[in-house]
């Protein structure tokens, strides 16, 4: 226990991003932002059907990765149990869609978010008392507990088979409703992800976000200044869990099913992989990491079939050893302005 050091990120970038905040985002940042969003919005016009669906999936997994970046990159706690929040969002949405007649999109999102938030509060209550690897192991164990519950409680969750349901229609209650097309789904997901990104970005730059980053840099000092560190950690786990739940809801709506496989440990591991590959503490880095991972998965699946994780695992390990900053880590400061 005594060998655990207080800092949780590399020593290379120990600067808080406060100075950058005073400068404000550059024009180049917003140009890049709108360019990327425009390209993503144009995807239904330029990409064939398969790759369009692929792009939608990248956005959903990107949101999931972004949510865990709040913990890994900003608060400095590596969660190995993020799949619990994703899965509970999924099952929450499934429950709402199966129960409500006719299925309502906004109700599904609400129920999914509430389910994820409740679970996140429960997990956070226990796990935030611990630090470093103990936090990781505890979150991992909690996600396994939820997996076992979902897997064995067949009457409610459908057990191994999961739940299937019909997709809800898109609309504003009382104004209009249109059924989801594939293009509409893509734009809806894009809208939710961009909105989440802007909200998360605002949060990480707020005074609250600054406290989270100071916990990452030096927890005892943050406590000494007088911040209630545990409370901040619990809120950060819940925040992260909510957005992971939102990703789960979107995934459930897009694919019209919820399955226990998405609560399994591998999904939690993927969140960490996305973050490390893309660059932690940047919010967009994990999205890039998710895109990179899914593209590699697609590519290697054609050569190695279901054993694609062999080359992907090797690349991941090499990146951990030689490129701990990830793909976008070099632009960390600019991206946090």
């Amino acid at each position: 226990m005594s060998t655990v050091s207080p800092s949780t990120t590399g020593t290379s970038d120990r600067t808080l991003d406060t100075r950058a905040r005073a400068v404000g985002p550059s024009r180049g940042y917003w140009t890049g932002f709108f360019l990327v969003v425009a390209v993503l919005a144009a995807v239904p016009y330029i990409l064939p059907e398969f790759w369009q669906r692929f792009a939608t999936e990248i956005l959903i997994w990107g949101l999931y990765a972004m949510s865990s970046d709040i913990l890994i990159g900003y608060t400095g706690m590596v969660s190995f149990g993020h799949s619990a929040f994703f899965g509970l969002g999924m099952y929450g949405a499934a429950a709402a869609l199966l129960w409500a007649k006719p299925p309502n999109l906004w109700l599904a999102i609400l129920v999914g978010l509430v389910a994820a938030a409740v679970v996140a509060a429960f997990v956070a209550f226990f796990s935030t008392r611990l630090r470093d690897i103990y936090f990781s192991i505890t979150t991992l164990v909690f996600s396994q507990i939820f997996y076992v519950i979902i897997f064995t409680w067949t009457e409610v969750t459908g057990g191994e088979n999961g739940l299937t349901f019909r997709a809800p229609a898109f609309g504003i209650p009382g104004v209009f409703t249109v059924p989801f097309t594939r293009d509409g789904m893509h734009w809806f997901v894009l809208g939710m992800v961009v909105l989440s990104y802007l909200v998360l970005r605002r949060i990480t730059q707020s005074p609250f976000g600054m406290v989270l980053q100071s916990i990452r840099e030096n927890e005892p000092r943050t406590r000494a200044i007088g911040y209630h560190v545990e409370r901040y950690k619990i809120v950060s786990v819940m925040l992260s869990g909510c957005f992971a739940g939102l990703a789960g809801v979107l995934y459930a709506i897009q694919n019209k099913f919820a399955a226990p496989d998405f609560v399994l440990f591998l999904i939690s591991g993927e969140a960490v992989i996305f973050n490390v590959m893309g660059g932690i503490g940047t919010l967009v880095g994990p999205v890039a990491g998710a895109a990179f991972f899914l593209l590699m998965k697609e590519l290697f699946s054609r050569v190695f079939y279901e054993y694609y994780l062999i080359p992907v695992g090797i690349i991941f390990t090499l990146m951990v050893v030689f490129m701990p900053q990830g793909l976008l880590g070099a632009w960390r400061r600019q991206l946090n302005r």
Partner: protein, 289 residues
């Protein structure tokens, strides 16, 4: 009505499982204690060792030779693993080592799936025969497993206590820098300790192989269980991990009297969470001053 006969059988089961788990967990805790590496691939070393055992058994036809071959092979594999993936990470965060070993664990798991396929492999047990234990015919082999595990752990203990290299290992665990200054080749000690941990995991894998068959997914279960007992027993504490292995396995076995084995694992998770909340330094270690 308490089913005493079932409880007794489950106690024996728990002790046997606990000894196997202790064999896996003592390697994990040794590795953590000496170099702050949280080896996420430890269960996969166990699984790969078991597969090597099946291959060696196919060629030699003798269980004990297969066991020896698998152990030696995995020791070499562990040494290569440590030099290639972990030595560059020395001095970085323990969390970085989780990530690196997690990557390796994905590779090992999928390699095993690719090489050996999804159908479980069986190793023929070297000791056949049963004895009567209440309502079941209990295989002698399971008691042999427990005995062998105890012998290997005992051997490790004697080596650590009296062997020259064992003293090197303990010295490096206590103070890395000072040991280096005293002329102990610390990088070599790290590699050897990792090789020992891998070899112990492999021996556990081969011994465990005949009971349920070997499949590529069993590694993760053991990683998780080994994590649980290593934390319950106190990270880096050898004796604590062994006691905790037996304690957690007994709890889990006893739980199967009333719930399904899939749900019984929650009992050990609950034990972990309670331990972390009440006594985060571990149940079976003296209170730190």
């Amino acid at each position: 009505m308490i089913p005493f006969d079932q409880i007794f059988v489950q106690i024996v089961n728990g002790l046997v499982n606990g000894m196997i788990l202790a064999l896996v967990a003592s390697g994990l805790t040794l590795i953590f204690g000496i170099m702050d590496v949280v080896n996420f691939a430890h269960g996969d070393l166990f699984m790969l060792g078991a597969y090597f055992g099946t291959t060696a058994y196919l060629y030699t036809g003798n269980f004990w030779i297969a066991l020896l071959c698998a152990v030696l092979l995995m020791a070499v594999f562990g040494a290569v693993f440590q030099v290639a993936a972990l030595r560059p990470l020395l001095g970085r965060q323990p969390l970085t080592t989780i990530l690196a070993t997690f990557g390796i664990s994905l590779v090992i798991q999928n390699y095993a799936l690719w090489q050996y396929g999804p159908v479980p492999r069986k190793i023929v047990e070297p000791v056949t025969g049963y004895f009567r234990l209440f309502y079941v015919d209990y295989p002698w082999y399971r008691l042999v497993i427990a005995g062998m595990s105890a012998a290997i752990i005992g051997g490790l203990y004697l080596f650590m206590k009296y062997g020259k290299y064992g003293i090197w290992i303990r010295a490096t665990t206590q103070d890395r820098v000072m040991s280096q200054a005293m002329g102990i080749p610390v990088p070599l000690v790290h590699t050897v300790v990792f090789a020992i941990g891998a070899a112990m995991a492999a021996s556990a894998g081969v011994l465990f192989g005949p009971t349920t068959g070997v499949n590529h997914a069993m590694g993760f279960d053991f990683t998780l269980k080994a994590f649980v007992v290593v934390v319950v027993g106190g990270m880096g504490n050898l004796g604590g991990s062994i006691l905790a292995s037996i304690f957690v396995s007994l709890l889990e076995s006893l739980a199967t009297v009333w719930v399904s084995p899939a749900q019984a694992i929650i009992v050990s998770f609950a034990a972990l969470i309670l331990t972390l909340l009440v006594r985060p330094t571990g149940l079976f270690v003296p209170t730190p001053k």
